[in-house]
């Protein structure tokens, strides 16, 4: 037994920390690349992340919009809200893909390889961020076609897009945890992320909160999606100060990242 134990100890050094860090980055990029190839090859994914948000914009702009009373033009009110909602819904892809990989044994294969353990999750989140950014830019373009305009300058407009992306990424962390913890594609698809509907719709995304019943206002006024959309509107339109909603958004998002990123990592390590 000692004859076997001795070489074990000698081999424990492995690659240097610098090499490992380099590998972690390259592994993450490899997984990102793989995920993006899969994304553009599956028509359903493209539909979900490109066509569906466009339909939503047109629907709210031309069908529901006229019936929703807001100060100013509805399309100005709508765009930041719909961008936030779309960013949040991008997380469906994260959860479903991870559950699928777990179920099919892809994650087993990857975990049995000498690659960075962080890369599967990190690569997934990076790819989903790219995907989300593409979707957001498409919605902005469609928004411009139907009358939306940024009225607060270029830098705040870019800041709004970044905030929406970071918000989407935070929701993706929750989804990553959900997908890995449930580990079954169909369950994830049917009820894993059902909470996203009340969270995004019971907010200021599509209607002014003042039009909701009092008890619902209490929730809508104090939940993170409303803060994020408030900050996004302030950045895009410049009609109100950015700081109050922005600070609350940052606090919420930081909290979500800390809690759910670590939960997701734990779920990945334990995933079997």
């Amino acid at each position: 037994m000692t004859a076997i134990a001795a070489p074990t100890a000698l081999n424990q050094t492995g690659p240097s920390p610098a090499t490992r860090a380099r590998w972690a980055v390259s592994d993450t990029l490899t997984i990102t690349r793989r995920n993006l190839i899969v994304w553009y090859r599956v028509p359903a994914y493209i539909f979900f992340s490109v066509v569906q948000p466009v339909i939503f914009v047109l629907l709210f702009r031309y069908v529901f919009g006229g019936a929703i009373p807001v100060s100013g033009r509805y399309v100005q009110f709508l765009l930041p809200g719909i961008i936030a909602q779309t960013a949040a819904f991008a997380s469906f892809g994260t959860a479903i893909a991870l559950a699928q990989e777990l179920q099919k044994g892809v994650i087993d294969r990857l975990r049995s390889m000498p690659m960075a353990r962080s890369a599967v999750l990190a690569g997934r989140l990076v790819a989903d961020t790219v995907r989300m950014l593409v979707t957001i830019l498409i919605i902005v373009a469609v928004g411009y076609a139907v009358g939306f305009r940024f009225t607060n300058g270029v830098v705040p407009a870019i800041a709004m897009i970044i905030l929406a992306t970071v918000f989407g990424l935070a929701i993706c962390c929750i989804a990553a945890y959900t997908g890995l913890a449930i580990g079954d594609e169909e369950s994830v698809q049917s009820f894993g992320l059902i909470w996203l509907f009340p969270l995004t719709f019971v907010s200021s995304a599509f209607v002014p909160i003042a039009t909701m019943p009092g008890w619902l206002q209490a929730f809508a006024n104090n939940q993170p999606v409303t803060f994020v959309i408030g900050a996004m509107r302030a950045l895009a339109l410049g009609h109100q100060p950015v700081a109050p909603d922005m600070l609350k958004s940052i606090a919420w998002l930081a909290g979500i990242f800390i809690v759910f990123a670590s939960l997701a990592v734990r779920a990945y390590k334990r995933a079997t």
């Binding site: 074990t8 081999n11 492995g14 044994g105 087993d108 294969r109 049995s112 390889m113 000498p114």
Partner: protein, 352 residues
């Protein structure tokens, strides 16, 4: 690193591995040693603990107790080094179906930290070796089951592993793909790769493995070469078919005094078999005489060496008629958590 020391031990060594999933004791103290360059067949019914053992040895699962050393690296203390030495091909093809065969292999190559040119070259090599050149640039979802398994196996070889784990590599394949997979595994073994192969199929272990361990209910219940296991049930088997079913009872009565133990009768096929000890051709001659004097006509009368089927029946007492059902059920089921994988199947499974 003193290479001589590392390479002197067995490629795979496991001692007293235990693992429970809740109430289910999947492994109850498994020990095995696989010398370098040999093929170990791990044979057992569905739910015996084969997959759990493989998952522990490939660092995917922590054992509750015991130890394991792969290629000189302790699975618990240095899993990263173990991962550099092994390849794993699991029960389901763990490939990305939307990617082409070539892309799948290139990406695995990159994850083994090959440069892009090296990853490409390695992918080409493996596509050739596994007869996937024509399909290389098609998405893997267009592949047949056999091709997907070959691609999966190719992916497990990208890192040129010294020790290869194949968890039921032919489960769910049609007979022709199965033979193709056997050829591939044989040639890997011929190149000196140490292979641990789990299977529910006795003929597969017989064909491919240098030595065999039989696992049932989380314990090793027998081990040795195929020949050694066969000799455990003692002697040859005399076997024949009685086409006229009304004569079966007469045939059994005629043969009974000649054989060792009770004759085994398969009512569906009319096949009768009985242990013939070590009397060789004398047993055959006696059988012909007494069947003839009883007026029984037989077909396919032969003396054969016992198959692993006979061995498995003798060792576990699992009933033969459950044959096939278990493997069908497995194929149909999705891969669940190990706990229900073990629990759901229980005693039902059996090697075919």
């Amino acid at each position: 690193m003193p290479l001589s020391e590392v390479s002197s031990g067995p490629a795979i060594l496991a001692e007293g591995l235990t693992k429970s999933f809740g109430e289910v004791r999947a492994l109850r103290g498994i020990g095995l040693a696989v010398p370098r360059g040999t093929v170990l067949g791990v044979l057992g019914p569905n739910g015996a603990g084969k997959t759990t053992a493989v998952r522990i040895l490939t660092t995917l699962l922590l054992p509750d107790g015991g130890r394991a050393v792969i290629d000189g690296h302790d699975v618990l203390r240095d899993p990263a080094a173990v991962r550099r030495s092994i390849g794993l091909s699991g029960q389901s093809a763990a490939i990305q179906e939307e990617l082409t065969g070539r892309e799948n292999l290139e990406i695995v190559g990159r994850l083994y930290h090959l440069s892009w040119p090296d990853a490409r070259a390695r992918a080409v090599e493996l596509l050739e070796q596994f007869d996937l050149v024509d399909a290389a640039d098609r998405q893997a979802k267009t592949y047949s089951g056999g091709m997907q398994r070959r691609l999966d196996l190719a992916a497990s070889l990208v890192g040129q592993p010294k020790v290869l784990f194949l968890d039921e590599p032919t489960t769910g394949l049609d007979p022709r793909s199965r033979l193709g997979m056997w050829d591939v595994i044989r040639s890997l073994a011929a190149q000196g790769t140490t292979i641990m192969l789990t299977t529910q199929y006795l003929d597969e272990a017989d064909e491919l493995a240098d030595s065999i361990v039989v696992i049932d209910h989380g314990l090793v219940i027998a081990q040795g070469t195929a020949e050694e296991l066969k000799s455990q049930i003692g002697g040859d088997v005399l076997e024949f078919v009685v086409p006229d079913r009304s004569m079966i009872d007469a045939a059994v009565a005629a043969i009974k005094p000649l054989g060792e133990g009770e004759p085994h009768l398969d009512a569906d096929t009319g096949q009768v078999s009985v242990g013939a000890g070590s009397r060789g051709s004398d047993a055959l001659i006696d059988a012909v005489r007494s069947l003839d004097s009883a007026g029984v006509v037989t077909r396919g009368l032969a003396l054969r060496r016992p198959s692993l089927d006979d061995v498995f029946l003798a060792l576990t007492g699992h009933a033969a008629e459950e044959d096939g059902q278990a493997s069908g059920r497995r194929r149909g089921r999705r891969r669940g958590k190990p706990a229900d994988n073990q629990a759901a199947t229980g005693r039902r499974g059996r090697a075919s």
